[in-house]
Symmetry: C2
Subunit: 264 residues, 2 copies
């Protein structure tokens, strides 16, 4: 049975207080999930321990199967809309929130070593926009990417907006940080990955690439792209476009490339 | 020489007043463009008549080539940031705005008849989200789509946010409205187009499609997808995804499909 919360100041739901301000401050070892689709991914994947769930009263019935499937130790709180909005700090239309624990990020070498002989990995370099990182993880989940490596300047995939845009993809695809893009490439090459860098100046076109059993695809930010030093150490791939047009969005680019590479 | 505006109530810049409110009310025969990249597309394409330009004083120097290239009859106004923000109604960071005239939309049959023997057309059905329509036009411009048809329930590509997300793509790719999705398909088929409908339940996979000289691709909204009646009258195409994952974003889907079809 959900635990009814009627006082917005109830300390049991502290983790849900002032959601937007906490987005900026960070939640240390926790992250927050919104909406039914992403909550279902969180529970089904069972990769991240769920700490608690907070539901608007009118959502309990339709989520009965999730609530009943959670371990007994995980509290499910419920509140009416006014109390929930007061806790969260803004109108939370979907009325579904959960708090989960982050996992310790393994060294990239360890994550790569655990992958199968046929594997497809993404490497994100300088991707600081949560929409783009969320969109890339959505595509990574859709095309069965085995792991994502992020350099130190890319943003947090477990930021609330990135999770939402990924439609739960960040909860499905294993990821970790590389200390630098240079070490990322070195680790991938040592682990037997053919490293492809997407770049408008790429020497090969995507459509002509036949992926190796272990293939990694590097993506850089839309403006600056990938650093020249990385391009020099990898196979550079371009997506042919009509002349005179600027560029594709990086999340769209990831979808195009993953569709091609996952067919190979 | 730009015309300096120092009074936010100056009637000459009425078209720039209260930009966000006017987004909702509509601008009748006009639309508004923001930022350097899109303004350059607007001027370079010369499809839509520019009515006026409003620049923050500190942007004039870097846009001198555009200002000098405009017809003499097109007024270029300048204002300092405080006056510009007061006119527009919110802080307009990029300090670059223009107002242009819409074109009358031709009947779909007329637009299709004017296309070359080899042509790639997009048909949008029920796409009410400006981000998605903007993203689709960005991809359409990148892959050289010849025309876009929109059904009556799809949103306006010349809405301010759609233009911005398209990075000017909506100013490059000709588009018009079809009275209904059903008439859209009929017009495409009469004009000799092989009509492909993207759908998770599609009978062929995208990677196996060899595009006909005249190919049209129909896209529907992410939740409902394309109506069954349309699927029954067209070739249905799916993008294979990892089982258990929901779906791709429709703009990403358009990029994946256009990349494949434009290689054929």
């Amino acid at each position: 049975m959900p635990i009814a919360i009627s006082d917005p100041d109830d300390p049991r739901i502290d983790a849900y207080r002032a959601v937007r301000e906490r987005d900026l401050l960070g939640r240390e070892s926790r992250f927050i999930v919104e909406g039914e689709v992403v909550l279902r991914v969180l529970v089904r994947q069972a990769r991240f321990p769920v700490e608690s769930v907070l539901l608007a009263e009118n959502r309990i019935e339709s989520l009965r199967d999730i609530v009943d499937g959670l371990p007994n130790a995980v509290p499910v709180y419920s509140a009416n809309r006014a109390v929930m909005d007061a806790i969260v700090g803004f109108p939370i239309h979907r009325g579904i929130l959960a708090v989960a624990k982050r996992l310790a990020l393994p060294p990239a070498t360890e994550l790569l070593a655990a992958l199968p002989a046929r594997a497809l990995v993404l490497g994100l370099v300088g991707l600081a926009n949560h929409d783009n990182v969320g969109g890339i993880f959505r595509n990574a989940a859709a095309f069965g990417v085995d792991a994502v490596l992020l350099d130190a300047t890319s943003c947090d995939p477990l930021y609330r907006k990135a999770i939402r845009v990924s439609v739960g993809g960040v909860l499905m695809v294993p990821f970790t940080r590389s200390p630098s893009a240079s070490e990322m490439v070195a680790d991938l090459q040592t682990a037997g990955f053919d490293v492809l860098s997407l770049s408008p100046s790429g020497r090969e076109t995507l459509g002509a690439v036949r992926p190796a059993p272990r293939t990694a695809l590097l993506l850089g930010a839309e403006g600056p792209g990938l650093p020249a030093a990385l391009l020099a150490r990898t196979r550079t791939i371009s997506i042919p476009m009509k002349s005179g047009f600027d560029s594709l969005n990086v999340a769209t680019t990831s979808g195009i490339a993953l569709h091609h590479l996952s067919q190979g």
